[in-house]
Every structure is written in structure tokens, then in C-alpha cells.
């Protein structure tokens, strides 16, 4: 009945802070009452139009009813609900957009499990001259790892150098690894002299990767990896891979 709809509309207009479901419920209840009253009036003789009109009049002033109803639906908890809802939506949208960021955690874990995939050997297969190794040192929250050694690498001048493949990852895959590890690590010969190193640059895909090459003095079969920075120290002798391992 259109008359009833108008009445309900007028009441609901005064109810400011109600959810659509709550408003719907109020409308339904009022309409049910109007229908019952109109039916009762019809059964006692009135026609449909008159009964409807009388029913609406019997209800009272819709604005006044609406205002009284509005007092029963205060803003109260609704405001917190709306604010939290908005925040929740924003955060979810944000996480969806930055899902690629989890890629850095993935790379961090890859470095931990199989660095050859994330590092220089994109296809996962190292060139024959490189010997895959696994040396790891925990330095604070990060881990320095030597995952490849190339005892005879030819540089641009044709000299033979040792090339070391390094990576650093954070034990917590969501956090950044220490760049200092791949940047400040040095290599010493058997006398303890620092070997002049060619720094291959470092890159970060969640974990830091770098390659460093240096000339090893004649006759020496290993070198010492040395790191001393900002309160952390690390020193270890690394033998070159034997004849059987390298071609």
C-alpha cells in the first residue's frame, strides 16, 4: 500500500543512525501493524481507501514517532563499528596491493635453501668451473653464506683469480639482511695480508647477493674470510676445492 510506504518512509527519515537492516525491520513492523488495523476496519464496514487512511491516522504523527524511535538508535557503538570497518577495508586493500612484497620473504627463504636459484645462476645450474659449497656464519640476525667457489676465474686482463659467490639473508624472512656483510667482508692470504678484491656489486631481492674475486698468491690453497664491522667479528679459513671437484 503506497500510503503505508509513505508513512514508514516519514518515520524512518527521523532515524539517523540505524543500519539498513535495522531500518528495514522498523519499516516492516510498522507496515504489518497498518495492514492489521486496515483489515480490522474493513471487516467492520469501511472500504479499502478509507480503512487505509484511518489506519495511518490512528498511528499518530510519523515525525514524532520517528524522533522517539531515533532516541532508541543512538550512534554509540555504531561509530566504532564503522571506523573499524573502514580501517579493516583499507588494511585488506593495502595487503592485496603489496602482496608482491612477500616476494622478498620468498627470496630470503630461497637464499637460505638454495641460493643458486636466486643468485648468479638464474637457471639454477652453475657453470662447470664453479664449485657449489655451503659455508654459513650467523652474524647477529643475519647469516652470511658462501655458496660457490671458482678457483680459476679469468678476469678481463686474463689473470687467474679466485671468485667467491656470497649471499646474506636474515633469519627472519620478513626482515632485511645486513648489507654490511656482503660489502665489508675481506679476504686474507696465508700471511694475513688483505687481498686486493674486485667487488662484483651487490643486489637485493630480499637477500643480498654478491661476487668477489681476488688474486691468490702462488702456491696457496686457501684463503681466510674476515669480517670485522660494528661490533661483529668473523674469521674462517676456507680451502679451495680440490682437484677432484674442479675441472
Amino acid at each position: 500500500m503506497e500510503l503505508f510506504e509513505t508513512f514508514c518512509q516519514q518515520v524512518c527519515r527521523e532515524v539517523r543512525h540505524a543500519t539498513p537492516e535495522e531500518r528495514d525491520s522498523i519499516r516492516r513492523e510498522l507496515r504489518d501493524h497498518l495492514e492489521d488495523r486496515a483489515e480490522a476496519l474493513q471487516s467492520s464496514g469501511s472500504d479499502e481507501e478509507a480503512a487505509a487512511q484511518a489506519a495511518v491516522e490512528a498511528m499518530g504523527d510519523p515525525a514524532e514517532i520517528g524522533r522517539a524511535m531515533n532516541r532508541q538508535y543512538p550512534l554509540g557503538w555504531l561509530i566504532l563499528s564503522r571506523l573499524s570497518g573502514a580501517l579493516l577495508l583499507l588494511l585488506c586493500l593495502y595487503i592485496l596491493f603489496t602482496l608482491p612484497l612477500f616476494g622478498s620473504a620468498y627470496n630470503n627463504l630461497r637464499c637460505r635453501i638454495s641460493p643458486s636459484y636466486g643468485g648468479r645462476f638464474m637457471s639454477g645450474a652453475a657453470p662447470e668451473s664453479v664449485c657449489l659449497t655451503d659455508y654459513r656464519w650467523t652474524v647477529g640476525g643475519s647469516v652470511l653464506r658462501v655458496y660457490g667457489l671458482e678457483p680459476t676465474h679469468m678476469d678481463a686482463n686474463g689473470d687467474s683469480r679466485v671468485r667467491v659467490y656470497l649471499c646474506a639473508y636474515n633469519r627472519n624472512p620478513f626482515r632485511c639482511a645486513s648489507e654490511s656483510l656482503v660489502r665489508d667482508v675481506v679476504f686474507l692470504d696465508e700471511s694475513g695480508n688483505e687481498l686486493e678484491r674486485l667487488y662484483g656489486g651487490s643486489g637485493n631481492t630480499g637477500a643480498w647477493y654478491t661476487t668477489i674475486s681476488f688474486p691468490l698468491p702462488e702456491g696457496e690453497n686457501g684463503f681466510t674470510l674476515y669480517y670485522d664491522s660494528h661490533g661483529y667479528q668473523l674469521e674462517e679459513y676456507i680451502p679451495l676445492p680440490g682437484e677432484e671437484a674442479a675441472p
Binding site: V11, S25, L30, H33
Partner: protein, 111 residues
């Protein structure tokens, strides 16, 4: 003399109606008219803010089910909290009206 009730007298009537059984809005209006010998009249729409207010305070609960007419209606049920409130308010009202009556009778007697 007792103090005036804290609850709207219509609300008190609604609670007492519901103590007799679950009802829906229109049914309550019809019952009020009948039980008061058609002396009690109110604008029917004003019942609903009262009902929603009682529901908000926990004195009543609502549910939708089929009425005897066959259609679905929103029924109201008195809760324990509502029953306790009804008892307290009714007592309050009895005491208050008793005091008012006592004073009036005195005045009537003298006049």
C-alpha cells in the same frame, strides 16, 4: 508517599501485557483496549519506540514467527530482567497511587 515511577507508564503496561504471554505490536494495542474497557487510548505508532527501547534495555526480546492470522509478525517476549523490572515498577506504582488516593480521599472528605 512513594516516588513517581522511573518508567513510562505505557512501558509498564506493555511489560504487564507481555507477562501474560508473547504478543506482537498490533495485538498489544488490541489487548490494551480490551482490558481497559476501551478507556485506554493512545496513538498506536508511539508503541513501537517504547518496544524498541525495552528491547535495547534488555527487558524484552523479539523474534519473527507466524501469527494465528497466518502472516508473519514480530513477536515480543518478556525476559527475566524484564519480569524483575515489571515487579519493581508495579510495586512502585501501587505505593504511589495508594498515597495519591489517600491524600485525595482526605481532600474529598473535607470538601
Amino acid at each position: 508517599m512513594g516516588r513517581k515511577q522511573t518508567m513510562d507508564h505505557t512501558a509498564l503496561l506493555v511489560l504487564s501485557l507481555l507477562s501474560q504471554g508473547d504478543m506482537y505490536g498490533y495485538q498489544m494495542i488490541a489487548e490494551l483496549e480490551r482490558q481497559s474497557d476501551h478507556t485506554f487510548e493512545m496513538k498506536e505508532g508511539t508503541l513501537y519506540p517504547i518496544l524498541h527501547g525495552l528491547e535495547r534495555s534488555g527487558a524484552v526480546e523479539s523474534y519473527r514467527t507466524q501469527a494465528p492470522s497466518g502472516r508473519e509478525r514480530k513477536y515480543y517476549r518478556l525476559t527475566e530482567k524484564g519480569a524483575a523490572a515489571l515487579k519493581a515498577e508495579a510495586e512502585q506504582w501501587r505505593r504511589y497511587s495508594h498515597s495519591v488516593n489517600a491524600v485525595l480521599e482526605q481532600a474529598m472528605g473535607l470538601a
